[in-house]
C-alpha cells in the first residue's frame, strides 16, 4: 500500500458512518417519502464512497460499478416515485 491509501480510505469510512445515520431515518421515517429520501441519500453516499475506495485500491472496476449503481438507483427512485404518485389522473 502506498501513502495515498490512508488518505482515501478514511473518508470512505466516514461516509459509511453517514450511511448508518441515514439508515436510522430509513427505519424511523413516519411516511413513505421520508424513507425514499433516506434511500436516495444512501445511494448517493454509496456512489461517492465507492469512487473513494476505487481510488484507494487503484482499481478501475470499482468506478465502473459506481457508474452502474448510480444509473440503476436513479431508475429505482423514479419507479418508486411514480408508484407513489398513483395511476393515471382522473
Amino acid at each position: 500500500m502506498n501513502e495515498f491509501f490512508k488518505i482515501f480510505i478514511i473518508p470512505g469510512g466516514l461516509l459509511l458512518i453517514f450511511m448508518l445515520l441515514s439508515l436510522i431515518r430509513l427505519i424511523l421515517g413516519p411516511t413513505v417519502p421520508d424513507r425514499i429520501v433516506a434511500l436516495d441519500t444512501i445511494n448517493t453516499l454509496v456512489v461517492a464512497g465507492m469512487i473513494l475506495v476505487g481510488a484507494a485500491y487503484e482499481e478501475v472496476i470499482y468506478i465502473d460499478v459506481a457508474i452502474v449503481y448510480a444509473l440503476l438507483s436513479y431508475i429505482g427512485t423514479l419507479y418508486v416515485a411514480k408508484y407513489l404518485e398513483g395511476g393515471p389522473k382522473k
Binding site: I7, F8, P11, L14, T31, P33, V37, A55, A70, E85
Partner: protein, 120 residues
C-alpha cells in the same frame, strides 16, 4: 507533492463535511420537504468534491508515472460524476412531486396554494 496533498485534503474535507451535514439534516429536520432539501443538495455538493479529489489525484499520478491505468481511473471518475450530477436532482424532483401529489403537507403549512392553482 506538497501542493497535491493540500488540494486533496481541502477537497476531501469539504466533501466529508457536506456529506455529514446532509445526513444530520436528514435526521433533524421536521418534514419530508425540508429533509429532501437538506439531504439532496448537501450530498450532491459533497460527492462532487470527493470525486474532484479523486480526479486530481488520478491526473497527478498519470502525469508522473505515465501508467495508463490512472488515466482510465480519471476518465471513469468523470463519467461517474456526470451521471451523479445529472440523475440526483432529477430524482429529488420526482420524489418531491410524488410526495405533494400523494397529499403530504409541509409541517406548519396553513394554506396550499399549489392545489388551489388547479395544475393539470
Amino acid at each position: 507533492m506538497g501542493i497535491l496533498l493540500t488540494i486533496l485534503y481541502i477537497f476531501l474535507g469539504i466533501g466529508v463535511i457536506f456529506n455529514c451535514l446532509g445526513s444530520i439534516g436528514l435526521l433533524r429536520f421536521p418534514d419530508v420537504y425540508t429533509r429532501l432539501h437538506a439531504s439532496t443538495k448537501a450530498t450532491t455538493f459533497g460527492s462532487i468534491f470527493t470525486s474532484l479529489a479523486v480526479i486530481v489525484y488520478s491526473f497527478y499520478r498519470w502525469n508522473i508515472s505515465g501508467n495508463s491505468k490512472f488515466g482510465v481511473l480519471a476518465l471513469h471518475t468523470i463519467v461517474a460524476l456526470i451521471c451523479l450530477v445529472i440523475t440526483n436532482p432529477t430524482g429529488a424532483h420526482a420524489i418531491a412531486r410524488a410526495a405533494h401529489r400523494s397529499g403530504i403537507m409541509p409541517k406548519q403549512a396553513v394554506i396550499n396554494e399549489l392545489k388551489e392553482a388547479k395544475l393539470k
